[in-house]
Amino acid sequence: MASTQFPGTRGVGKAIYRVLSGIPTGALWFVVVIWSIPTFGLAVNSFRGRDDQRNSGWWTVFSDEGGTSLDNYETVLTASSTNSILESLANSFAIAIPATIIPIAIAAFAAYGFAWIDFKGREWAFIATVSLLAVPLQVALIPLLQLYSGGAHLTLPLMDKTLTLIPDFGLAGTTTAVWLTHTGFGLPFAIFLLHNYISGLPKDVFESARIDGADHFTIFWRIVLPLSVPVLAAFAIFQFLWTWNDFLIANTMIGAQRTEQPTTIAIANLAGDYGRNEHLLAAGAFVQAFFPLVVFFSLQRYFVRGLLAGSVKG
């Protein structure tokens, strides 16, 4: 709070005041520059050749004649000799799209149920569901991997017999396993976010609809869904960014299965043996970040709104 006023000062005091009052904006932009330098540096490097990257810092590009080109991007996107980033992009979509759409639908049902269907213990059921938000997903990884790679079998106590609850669908190492997991893990937050919004819809809308003879399904389908578009969009952005950028779940469920890897694993492994392809890392990282950044910049409004709705609660 340097823009403090100095009562009763003239001349020099005024000049100092003017300098001091400029400090907040200056400091702000200083922070912005510091924040952006790492990304900017890597962005510059992604256009420089292998030897340039190895032998000099990215800032020399402004003083030297050192050439820039799109070669790295071309190699990353088209070469099949190393890792195909394009294939991993397809995998990432195969994970992110269902892992975004399905939880939205499921969570919307549940949020409506928690908000507008009366039943005993509703409050507690809701709090129990949403409190799962904080559970670290590590706690579920080992059993889930076992489920995907062998199904679920219950050995009955005292009877020495095994019942197959869920057969082995051969999901281990597939993108399906990843998005199923994301769907489950995303639900507590989704329900929380959507419930905040749906429970705030005006009550008279529901009452008049019920008087007109509409049941829950009709109300949900015809009234709640159309009204909830903004919050659905906010959650969709969240979930998309999260699933696209996830590394832990994909690494656990897919691991070394090269044909099914999403982009995060692909770029983490891009450097290759002995760092042979290290010069491609920068380009790879930006290809990976391209879609999240597009989503982020074009839909920032919804994103911020979702963030606020999800966290700002007294």
């Binding site: 340097a2 403090t4 990257q53 399905i102 559970v135 706690v139 080992i142 007294g314």
Partner: protein, 752 residues
């Protein structure tokens, strides 16, 4: 603050913009297409994309279809009870046979019987016809439902035709004997069983005479029981044992009767259901398996519980209007909550319980070891130690410790002094709080650098990242508030939120790059550090200019402090003094022994001395934390910025009128107002930090003393295949966020 999201429809943009957006999207798809077509494995990729799209469509379509279908089913219950019963019985029956058929237990036991072979041959041969008939009946029922729903009877015939065609298709795939084909494997028994159950549902839905209803129930039970017996004919023949049979049956009946009493329903149906379940458990659970056992007893054992279930379904009189409404209302609740609760139970709750169970077993989950996995973690028997107090003795010798203690004492003295002047015991103001805060941070860092280990690292992460991100986020939010460039500046700070942790790690690995001392540095930080060293130990014009600049700014600051003190306006003295102290130290080093990455080599000449940010423990941990701070600060900033803007402006104006300074307004008005939001930010970040994984995994993989719980859990469970210790680590991680969870629950209860 619940009204933070008020319902509003998205603002419709100008039409031109929307057209441009569509064009851009089309152009993007075209570019992507060309890009893919150019690559060497384009056909593989196209295959992949198409199969992905199909899979997504099936997943989304099927699940939404099922959900809407069930909703429509209950809509039918309100209109036509008989149709509802038909469909519901059909669905439940189909599901039952689907599960039973898919059960490995039933399919793999026992030798193939020649009787069943013969019957299967017959069904195979007649399959297309049977399937057409069965599916046509199903189509008739569905078609009538649709027709009534849509109000146009013309829809019945097309539906029947479509279903019949589908039946033909199913039948043909069946006769082709596609080994293990989808339809053969999954759909054969469910369709038959479902159809039969639907038929009995249809009859039951229209009967009101008590005796007739019960007769229908018994006949239906016998039919379905025979079908089931037929299905598991070669699989499972239980031995007859009267005790094994009677005891569970009675226990089941009593148990369900009790439950039924609790929910105040008439007891008889509950008893019937409990007896059926008890019988099934007794006959098939406790008894011995013998493939050569009595076939007659097998059939009886199977049919009896079905008859009981049939009686259960038909016991109550035909549902009246009130009960129908009850059924519908009750079902709606489960329809809306069911999918979410199922998913959460299947992917979170049950796996978490199983993880706890696994954590009590050994590495291969075979033997019970009690708490010994936890013992291993807490007694440092793993590859990386959890706690390491070996270096605690060096704590008093560390510079951070020596600085931290005096600072805290100094702050305490200031606080007491100021407090005495105002009649309090202790006053928290800038002069007292700043030294105590800084001293505490120094002290904590000193402790964390001498006490090492995985769990300590996690604590250090939580402490540093949460504190710095929240503090910095708040500072930026305050700085940016109401400035002209607020939106742009905030977008830049916020940007890392959109980048993956892996991407951020790659970005920062480049920043931390350290090269051999003889070579030019390519990482920003080392380039600056070595450059600074060159500058401070050099003797050229740049060194001279920087020296003069340093001295001049130091003098200006001192002048400001002196003049302020002379005028007795103490505002801003404390921060200025802090900056002056730091600057004085820096200038002293710069002019004296030199700062930065240069050291004097053995031959007396200067050589570069880059910092190995990633490898040098213990502060490499801190450099990893910087990455997460870089990501999380944007989050804290956005949330806190919104909270600051939500502070009622009347408060601020009133304070200004009363002559409060900006800093007073911040500390006394804004901060208390946004306190709950700070709580939310802190808890959210703590949860994120506790489970930090990607950054450590990508940059060091836990080497160089940087191990954290999540990465250790991953290594133990999936690389070293020790499921016991891996699960135990996961549980430790879970327990460590439990306090946060309780805090959140309490907050929510307050809000509710």
């Amino acid at each position: 603050m619940t009204e933070a999201v008020s319902p509003e429809l998205p603002a419709a943009g100008p039409e031109v913009a929307s057209v441009l957006k569509k064009l851009a999207a089309v152009a993007f798809v075209v570019v992507l297409y060309v890009l893919i077509a150019r690559t060497e494995q384009s056909d593989v990729l196209f295959d992949k994309i198409v199969s992905t799209l199909i899979r997504v469509a099936i997943a989304v379509g099927a699940s939404s279809g099922v959900w809407i279908g069930i909703n429509l089913l209950f809509e039918q219950a309100a209109k036509n009870w008989q149709r509802f019963q038909t469909l519901a019985f059909g669905l439940v029956g189909g599901l039952f046979f689907f599960v039973l058929d898919g059960n490995r237990f039933l399919r793999t036991l026992g030798p193939r019987s020649s009787v069943i072979d013969a019957v299967e041959d017959v069904t195979n041969a007649s399959t297309p016809l049977t399937m057409v008939v069965v599916m046509a009946i199903v189509g008739l029922l569905v078609g009538r439902g649709i027709a009534q729903y849509k109000g146009s009877p013309a829809l019945v015939v097309p539906t029947v035709v479509i279903f019949a065609a589908l039946g033909l298709l199913l039948g043909l795939t069946r006769t082709e004997e596609v080994a293990g084909g989808f339809f053969t494997r999954i759909l054969w028994w469910p369709v038959i069983g479902g159809a039969i159950a639907a038929a009995f549902g249809f009859i039951l839905g229209g009967q009101s005479d008590r005796t007739a209803r019960r007769a229908t129930g018994v006949v239906g039970g016998i039919t379905l029981g025979l079908l089931t017996g037929f299905m598991v004919f070669r699989a499972y023949r239980p031995a007859f044992d009267i005790v094994d049979l009677v005891v569970p049956t009675l226990v089941g009946a009593a148990l369900f009767a009790g439950l039924g009493q609790l929910t105040q329903k008439s007891p008889m149906p509950s008893v019937l259901l409990g007896a059926a379940l008890g019988w099934a458990v007794g006959a098939f659970g406790f008894s011995e398996v013998d493939p050569r056992g009595s076939q007659l007893w097998q059939i009886i054992a199977i049919v009896i519980p079905f008859v009981l279930v049939g009686l259960w379904a038909s016991w109550r009189p035909l549902a009246g209007v009130v009960r129908r409404a009850e059924v519908i209302e009750n079902a709606r609740k489960w329809i809306f909550l069911g999918p979410a609760l199922t998913f959460i139970a299947a992917t979170l709750v049950i796996p978490a319980l199983r993880t706890f169970y696994l954590s009590l077993l050994d590495a291969d989950s075979e033997e019970w070891v009690g708490l010994s996995n936890y013992g291993q973690i807490f007694s440092n028997e793993l590859n990386e130690e959890s706690f390491d107090f070996a270096r605690i003795g060096s704590l008093p010798g560390s510079l951070l410790f020596q600085l931290g203690i005096p600072l805290m004492i100094l702050g305490g003295i200031f606080g007491v002094l100021v407090g005495r002047g105002r009649g309090n015991k202790f006053e928290t103001v800038g002069v007292s709080a700043t030294p105590i805060g800084i001293g505490f941070v120094f002290l904590a860092f000193a402790v964390f650098t001498t006490v090492r280990g995985t769990i300590i690292n996690n604590l250090w992460w939580v402490f540093t990242v949460t504190g710095v991100s929240t503090g910095l986020g708040l500072a930026i939010a305050v700085l940016a508030d109401r400035t002209r460039s607020e939106r742009v500046a905030k977008a830049f700070i916020f940007l890392p939120m959109a980048i993956s942790f892996v991407g951020a790690s790659i970005i920062w690995r480049a920043v931390y790059q350290a090269r051999n001392v003889t070579k030019e540095q390519t990482g920003v930080l080392n380039a600056l550090w070595v450059g600074l060293g060159k500058l401070s130990t050099g003797s050229g014009l740049p060194t001279l200019l920087v020296s003069i600049g340093l001295v001049l700014s130091l003098l200006t600051l001192l002048g400001f402090i002196v003049s302020s003190v002379a005028r007795k306006s103490l505002q801003g003295v404390a921060p200025a003094a802090t900056v002056a102290l730091l600057l004085a130290w820096f200038t002293y080093r710069f002019l004296g022994s030199g700062v930065g990455g240069q050291r004097i080599g053995p031959t007396g000449d200067l050589i570069a001395d880059p910092v190995l940010f990633v490898q040098e423990a213990p502060f490499n941990n801190f450099w990893l934390m910087v990455i997460l701070i870089w990501i999380q600060t944007g989050f804290a900033m956005v949330i806190l910025s919104a909270a600051i803007k939500a502070v009622p402006s009347e408060y601020l104006e009133a304070a200004r009128v009363d002559g409060a300074t900006d800093s007073q307004i911040f500390w006394r008005i804004i901060l208390p107002q946004i306190y709950p939001t700070i709580g939310v930010v802190v808890t959210t970040i703590i949860v994120v930090v506790m489970k930090v994984f990607d950054i450590v995994k990508v940059i060091t993989n836990g080497q160089f003393d940087t191990q954290v719980l999540a990465n250790q859990m991953f290594s133990e469970a999936f690389l070293f295949s020790d499921k016991g210790v891996g699960s135990a680590l996961a549980i430790v991680l879970f327990l460590s966020v439990l306090p946060v969870m309780f805090y959140n629950i309490r907050q929510m209860q307050k809000g509710a």
